[in-house]
């Protein structure tokens, strides 16, 4: 017993929610569990935003102090992953992620996922991610990235 945590992705105009997604691949379409080879990102362009949330179910008293960062995987030339956490949903697009900053590459000093705490089964706010490239980004696959999610639970 404890909180059960899975990842959820939202897509589309009217927000179609897919719980328990099996990958967070970036690509040139707005879809969950996509196959990158079918939706390649052209050098100099951006991926569609990924709009994901953590879904907590099961029994728990609170979830708090949530932190999310890229812990492994070097960028190649011209590559960046942008990140922002927001309370509201917006349909993923290829345009540069509004308000997005480089995702932390080490553990943040304080929580960077909202809300401050979750006290009943439900979702975090939206974690919006985007893979960005430049014209100098070489062709081919980028390096595999590892992400870490850390939280406190009672």
């Amino acid at each position: 017993m404890s909180a059960t945590h899975v990842w959820s992705e939202s897509n589309g105009t009217g927000e179609v929610v897919t719980d328990s997604i099996t990958n967070i691949n970036f690509g040139s379409t707005d879809a969950p569990n996509l196959v990158p080879a079918n939706f390649t990102i052209v050098a100099g362009e951006n991926s569609f935003h990924k709009c994901i949330r953590c879904k907590f179910s099961g029994t728990f008293t609170s979830i708090s102090n949530m932190k999310f960062w890229k812990s492994l995987g070097a960028y190649i030339t011209g590559e960046a992953i942008k990140f922002i956490c927001e309370a509201s949903y917006s349909q993923p697009a290829e345009t540069s992620l509004s308000g997005g900053a480089d995702i932390p590459v080490s553990e943040p000093g304080s929580a960077n996922i909202t809300p401050v705490s979750i006290v009943a089964p439900g979702y975090t706010d939206y974690i919006k991610l985007q893979e960005q490239t430049t014209g100098s980004t070489p062709a081919g696959n980028v390096n595999t990235k590892t992400f870490t999610f850390k939280y406190d639970e009672t």
Binding site: M1, S2, T4, H5, V6, W7, S20, I21, T22, N23, I24, N25, F26, P36, C54, T59, F60, T61, S64, N65, S71, G73, T144, K145, T146, F147, T148, F149, K150, Y151, D152, E153, T154
Partner: protein, 141 residues
């Protein structure tokens, strides 16, 4: 998910509340029940069910102990605002592309348990806290 460290709360009236009512860890008492009686809480213990090690906070005296050894002692008296600190810290990691890592929200890298107390004196918050890992390694803050 089964935990290696489970808690027990002991209240001033001698009553006890265990995190789990069974060895299988299926019937859990939420920590919320402890918070609801925080003003009556005397002791809060964590037991490592693998190694048998016991960690204890005595809130009436301001003592944190591991087994029989006291590691933090504030000689508290008349500190009605003393509050228990307890939570689990879960760290998960996953690769964006690897399906297996994302199941269950990612691969659990570590679970640690924070145990201690805090109180306010002269408008200053005092905190004594330890972090305990499954293998009984601890960090004292």
């Amino acid at each position: 998910m089964k935990f290696n460290l489970i808690w027990k709360a002991i209240f001033n009236d001698g009553t006890e509340l265990n995190q789990f009512d069974d060895k299988e860890q299926k019937n859990e008492n939420l920590f919320r029940k402890v918070l609801e009686r925080q003003d009556q809480l005397k002791e809060f213990c964590l037991f490592n069910i693998i190694t048998g090690k016991k960690y204890r906070v005595d809130l009436s005296l301001g003592i944190i102990s591991i087994g029989n050894k006291e590691i933090e002692k504030d000689q508290l008296k008349d500190k009605p605002n003393i509050r228990l600190i307890y939570f689990r810290r879960i760290e998960k990691e996953f690769q964006l592309t690897k399906d297996i890592d994302l199941r269950n929200g990612g691969k659990i890298k570590s679970i640690s348990y924070f145990l201690g107390y805090q109180y306010t004196e002269n408008n200053t918050n005092h905190k004594s806290l330890i972090q305990i890992f499954d293998n009984d390694e601890i960090i004292i803050y």
